[in-house]
């Protein structure tokens, strides 16, 4: 804002005000058009297809009632925490690189600057000036690096948003801790209800552990041993047992196994296909309104950049002015020039960074939609998800199952399986993961070692 007001004084407050007001009028006009269009389409729909319109209204009313009775709750997953940590580390790296660049440029300018008169290199005014110059040059030379960081952070932010949406469910029972077994729910079902995803390693490990609990598989040192016990296994367990006995797990099989588990969860009524039933016009309106803050910010920065570019000739003067001898008479002007340069660099960078960040965030979200089928939890799924959240909290706060080994399955039974599915125990995932290889499998019934 400093740079804008400084330029406003140069160009005239009137011109600045006119441009600002014009921008607001354009945004207002845009909003009115969208609002009028929305109402017009609604009237057409009501006239041409009244039954469908009525059904849509009733469905929206039922949905609103359901949303009123329930409240949002989320199961925090380790993947979300991992991605957030990656974003923080990336930003820290960027800040460190920027700080190193600023320090580097400062030392170079400090060593090469011509200081005269009563000023010295350690005078506060000279230090301030050299720092400002260093910051401006760092912004210029690290531009591509900063954009790279922004793209990466944007994509990760988009992924986090998708993960958060998928692990959010509607709670109605007020469960804080759930201490019982979940009957009729497999590890894959739990994983799907947790975050609408199946994780290869974790969920296959949990299923193997369940087979171990049912005495179908045993662990002998670093080998898996199959017994001849024939128990009622569900489809996922049977498929896994079959592949472990006959060939070992491969990526194609994993893909099919995951797909089958989603179909199973659909059949049980825990999830349904994502089909858009919303109000297109309302969503279009919300989407347009949502873009407004970003557009407004961009408009401000563009205005700042325009004002700066209008005085582009001054820019050249500023760059060459840094070669002048710094003295008591010109240090103030040089400092103003450095502030102006920083403002210009900042505005220009923001004009690029904001849309790049928004687009990268969109890419991060779109990536999941394009790669995976989309599902939603049903009300029954929401109820189970609430129990799963309570179970996760209970295992996290009331046990040390995070440190249990796979042999403890005889003591903990399904609770240890839940601990693996709910990401409370990663040790077992690593231990059993090593046993997937064919040479680690022993088949008792065929006597193959």
């Amino acid at each position: 804002m400093m740079i804008l007001t400084a330029q406003a004084e140069t160009l005239g407050l009137r011109e600045f005000g006119i441009l600002f007001a014009l921008g607001l009028v354009l945004i207002g006009y845009f909003l009115i058009c969208v609002l009028m269009g929305r109402n017009k389409f609604k009237k057409i729909e009501k006239r041409e297809n009244p039954e469908a319109y009525k059904a849509k209204k009733e469905a929206a009313k039922a949905q609103a009632e359901y949303l009123r009775k329930t409240k949002k709750q989320r199961i925090k997953t380790k993947e979300e925490i991992r991605i957030k940590q990656k974003i923080i580390k990336t930003i820290m790296v960027a800040l460190i690189v920027f700080a190193v660049a600023v320090c580097g440029f400062y030392f170079i300018f400090s060593a090469t600057a011509n200081v005269g008169g009563t000023m010295s290199r350690t005078s506060p005014e000279v230090v301030r000036l050299l720092l400002l110059e260093a910051i401006a040059f760092s912004q210029c030379f690290l531009g591509i690096f900063i954009i790279g960081i922004v793209i990466y952070s944007g994509i990760q932010k988009g992924r986090v948003k998708t993960l958060r949406e998928k692990s959010t469910f509607r709670s109605s029972q007020g469960i804080v801790y759930y201490r019982d077994f979940l009957k009729g729910v497999t590890p894959a079902d739990m994983s799907i209800l947790m975050n609408l995803k199946i994780d290869d390693r974790k969920d296959i490990t949990a299923t193997i552990l369940r087979l171990c609990d049912k005495k179908v598989i045993d662990f002998a040192g670093n080998r898996m041993v199959f017994s001849n016990q024939e128990l009622s296994l569900d489809k996922g367990e049977s498929e896994l047992l079959h592949i472990l006995k006959n060939g070992g797990i491969n990526p194609t099989w994993v893909k099919n196994w995951k797909s089958n588990r989603f179909l199973e969860a659909k059949e049980k009524g825990f999830v349904k296909d994502y089909v858009y039933h919303g109000d297109t016009h309302a969503d279009l309106f919300s989407g347009c309104v949502g873009c407004l803050p970003a557009l407004f910010l961009m408009m401000l920065f563009m205005m700042g950049a325009v004002f700066c570019v209008n005085n582009l000739s001054s820019l050249g003067e500023i760059f060459f002015s840094f070669e002048e001898i710094i003295s008591q008479t010109n240090v103030k002007d040089l400092t103003s020039g450095a502030i102006y340069l920083n403002g210009m660099m900042f505005c220009t960078n923001m004009i690029v960074i904001i849309p790049v960040f928004l687009f990268s965030k969109f890419l991060g979200r779109a990536n999941d939609s394009l790669r995976n089928e989309q599902f939603l939890r049903t009300p029954q799924g929401d109820e189970l998800a609430e129990k799963i959240a309570g179970l996760k909290r209970f295992i996290n706060e009331f046990s040390v199952l995070s440190e249990a080994e796979k042999e403890k399955i005889v003591l903990w039974n399904d609770f240890l399986v839940y601990a693996v599915v709910l990401e409370e125990n990663t040790r077992i995932v690593n231990d059993i993961g090593k046993l997937y290889k064919k040479e680690h499998i022993v088949n008792c019934s065929r006597g193959i070692y």
């Binding site: 201490r179 706060e397 009331f398 046990s399 040390v400």
Partner: protein, 186 residues
């Protein structure tokens, strides 16, 4: 100027220490409350078990007219469990009740009509389920005691625990009769 910086530094350090103390104290209280909560869960299951016994006795009485001593043992063990004054007594009484119930279930093998009775079968399943729940509740109780014990014995928590008077809780351990090998007589 220097004095101001030193003063600000001391204030920051003191604020940090107070914050750390508050966080540690609250952590101890939370861990201790979880131990108590988990014990209450064992109690809930014991009470649930005790509530099922009268129905069981009524189902069995009509069939096993000459096995009153077995029924009396179950009733006595149940009364002892309901009247227990502390958790240790309650668990001892529960162990006696389990032994007495074992005799009733073994007895049902000699009375096919009793064994086939749906009410009896349902009660037998419910009692078995409750016994499993008690076992899991005990395991979770021991875990909460371990978490609490780690908090108050590991450094630097042990310093603050001694200061605030937090003491370790006892693990639930099976007594000698529960650990002894089960004798099966045919």
């Amino acid at each position: 100027m220097e004095t101001t910086f030193i003063f600000i530094g001391i204030v920051i350090v003191i604020a940090f220490l107070i914050g750390f103390l508050i966080k540690t104290y609250n952590g101890f209280v939370r861990a201790r409350n979880r131990v108590k909560t988990q014990w209450a869960q064992i109690d809930v299951q014991l009470k649930r078990r005790a509530d099922l016994i009268p129905n069981l006795i009524e189902s069995v009485k009509g069939y096993v007219k000459h096995e009153n001593d077995v029924i009396d043992r179950v009733a006595a063990a149940r009364s002892k469990m309901v009247g227990a004054g502390n958790p240790k007594e309650a668990m001892q009484a529960n162990a006696e009740l389990t032994s007495a119930l074992g005799r009733i279930f073994a007895l049902s093998e000699a009375y096919p009509t009793l064994k086939a009775n749906t009410n009896f079968m349902q009660l037998q399943n419910s009692l078995g389920e409750t016994e499993s729940k008690i076992a899991y509740a005990r395991q979770f109780y021991n875990d909460t005691v371990l978490i609490y014990k780690d908090k108050i014995t590991l450094f630097p928590g042990n310093i603050f625990a001694a200061m605030f008077g937090f003491k370790a809780e006892a693990f639930f351990e099976a007594d000698a009769s529960e650990r002894a090998a089960v004798q099966v007589k045919f």
